[in-house]
């Protein structure tokens, strides 16, 4: 049985003013994600891929269709679908370790127990020594590491990431990809990862879903058969380049449509 099923999910935003056309952000999408899959959703900006992720998270409502997680329909946000956002969403009044323990505290876990789990995640994402820093004192990359640890400490059924490394510089971004991939290879989480970066999509994913320009629909599904564990040197190998060339073609056509549409 698949972990996550997206059935005929579409999203139409009501018109901004009376008489105007409603905006069709997403045409009906069907997608099934197996346990331990790492799916990247790749598309030009404004194609509705984030909308799809937000619907899975329960932060936005589908106009049609439904989302099933472990066979149960999604009705609202919940800790079984932890999300990492593109913007920095750490709670500024909490230290790194308190941020990581936030979900556990909401669940009513005793202090010493959640402290232990948070500490362990803090170390696993490479933030040992920064436990008591406030988010403001951290770099962007470290903030996103904390955000990832905060979601994982909650032990979610599926992890949703919405362009989490979009605001980082190239070098930091590459390191973060390796960290995330390393965690996934060890913990075997189910991951849905939205990005517009082709290389990132290939490097991380077991399957890439290409979304068309707005209104979004699934244009192609590309399995990535590169073996795990993946090393960053894979990015220069021939198989990687071939995939990159193929996806570049797919995305380019959509980017042209997206660029001329506005």
């Amino acid at each position: 049985m698949s972990k996550l099923r997206i059935e005929d999910v579409s999203r139409t935003f009501p018109p901004a003013r009376a008489g105007a056309e409603p905006t069709r952000a997403l045409l009906p999408v069907n997608l099934s994600v197996a346990e331990n899959d790492f799916i990247t959703i790749l598309g030009p900006s404004g194609c509705g891929k984030s909308t799809l992720l937000r619907i899975v998270a329960g932060l936005d409502r589908a106009s049609t269709g439904r989302v099933l997680l472990d066979g149960k329909p999604v009705t609202g946000p919940g800790p079984d679908r932890g999300m990492v956002f593109q913007s920095y969403t750490l709670f500024p009044w909490l230290s790194v370790i308190e941020n990581i323990a936030f979900g556990l505290r909401e669940r009513g876990m005793p202090v010493d127990q959640r402290q232990k789990i948070a500490q362990s995640w803090c170390e696993r994402v490479g933030l040992a020594g920064f436990e008591h820093h406030y988010p403001k004192q951290l770099s962007g990359g470290m903030q996103q590491r904390t955000a990832i640890a905060r979601v994982l400490a909650n032990d979610p059924s599926i992890m949703l990431l919405d362009e989490p490394f979009g605001a980082l510089d190239n070098q930091t971004r590459a390191l973060m990809q390796e960290t995330l991939l390393g965690i996934w290879e060890r913990e075997r989480k189910t991951v849905l990862f939205v990005t517009h970066d082709i290389e990132e999509a290939i490097f991380l994913a077991s399957r890439v879903i290409v979304v068309s320009a707005r209104p979004g629909r699934i244009k192609a599904e590309v399995p990535i058969d590169l073996p795990y564990p993946r090393h960053y040197t894979i990015k220069t190998e021939a198989a990687f380049s071939a995939l990159k060339a193929r996806l570049t073609e797919e995305i380019r056509a959509e980017a042209v449509i997206a660029a001329t549409a506005r």
């Binding site: 919940g78 800790p79 709670f91 909490l94 936030f102 909401e106």
Partner: protein
């Protein structure tokens, strides 16, 4: 020397701040002691200090100061107790905002001082009336400003908390309130300053103690030295309370400054 947005060093900042006070007093002394302004209208600094000393040692002015501080703090604390929870509720729940916002916006423009005759009628000239003036003057401002601060909490923080398992009450208690706390403290600091204006006005009418009462008494005697001393005392107390508020903010909300 003067460049746009160029920062100034810490010692220079202090010296420049003090320099203005010095120049101000010097200008005042020059105008009064030099005989350019009649002492009937404006006392000179030396007389002011002498009158002030007289007030403190002979006329029990410390008691007046105490009364005024008590009234401001009392009325203001009452207003804060009512306004902060209401403001948080309005900022959090849009139907509550839609229900209360129009009235509060209207009530905010009702001048507290114009209520004094009515309040004397309702509550007499005792302490209740003084507290009510300050309460009316600050409560509506506080409600609106707190509501705006809470309502402006970043939406993505709230969404992140939801995806981490927070329920609605958890969002209010562990996201909206801690995120708005430094802003609310800043609003309290600001509105406390306005409360000082109301207390003096309240004491000008139908009062037997307080700094405002002393000022009315001195007006009858044309004692401008005492009036100025009273005004300066108000300024000093304001400065101290401001300083205490800022120190408390640094202590309680280090994350907002780091």
């Amino acid at each position: 020397m003067l460049q746009p947005l160029e920062p100034v060093s810490a010692p220079a900042r202090i010296w420049l701040g003090v320099l203005f006070f010095v120049l101000f007093v010097a200008g005042w002394a020059w105008a009064t002691l030099g005989g350019y302004v009649s002492p009937t209208f404006l006392a000179d600094p030396v007389t002011m200090v002498q009158e002030g000393w007289q007030l403190l040692t002979v006329h029990g002015f410390l008691h007046d100061i105490g009364m005024t501080v008590w009234r401001v703090v009392g009325g203001f604390v009452l207003a804060a107790i009512v306004a902060v929870p209401l403001g948080v509720a309005m900022g959090t729940y849009k139907p509550i905002e839609a229900f209360l916002e129009p009235f509060v916006s209207f009530a905010r423009y009702l001048p507290a001082s114009a209520f004094i005759p009515l309040l004397i009628l309702w509550a007499g000239i005792g302490e209740t009336q003084k507290l009510l003036v300050i309460f009316i003057g600050s409560v509506f401002q506080l409600i609106l400003m707190v509501a705006v601060t809470v309502g402006n909490t970043r939406r993505d923080l709230v969404e992140a908390a939801y995806t981490l398992g927070a329920n609605d009450w958890g969002i209010v208690r562990r996201v909206l309130i801690p995120m708005s706390a430094p802003g609310i403290a800043e609003i309290l600091r600001l509105v406390l300053g306005w409360a000082w204006t109301y207390v003096i006005v309240a004491e000008l009418i139908g009062s037997s103690s307080g700094i405002g009462h002393m000022i009315t008494d001195s007006q009858a005697l044309l004692n401008t030295g005492q009036i100025i001393f009273g005004i300066i005392i108000i300024g000093l107390i304001g400065l101290i309370s401001d300083f205490l508020f800022k120190a408390a903010n640094r202590r309680f909300f280090p994350w907002s400054l780091a």
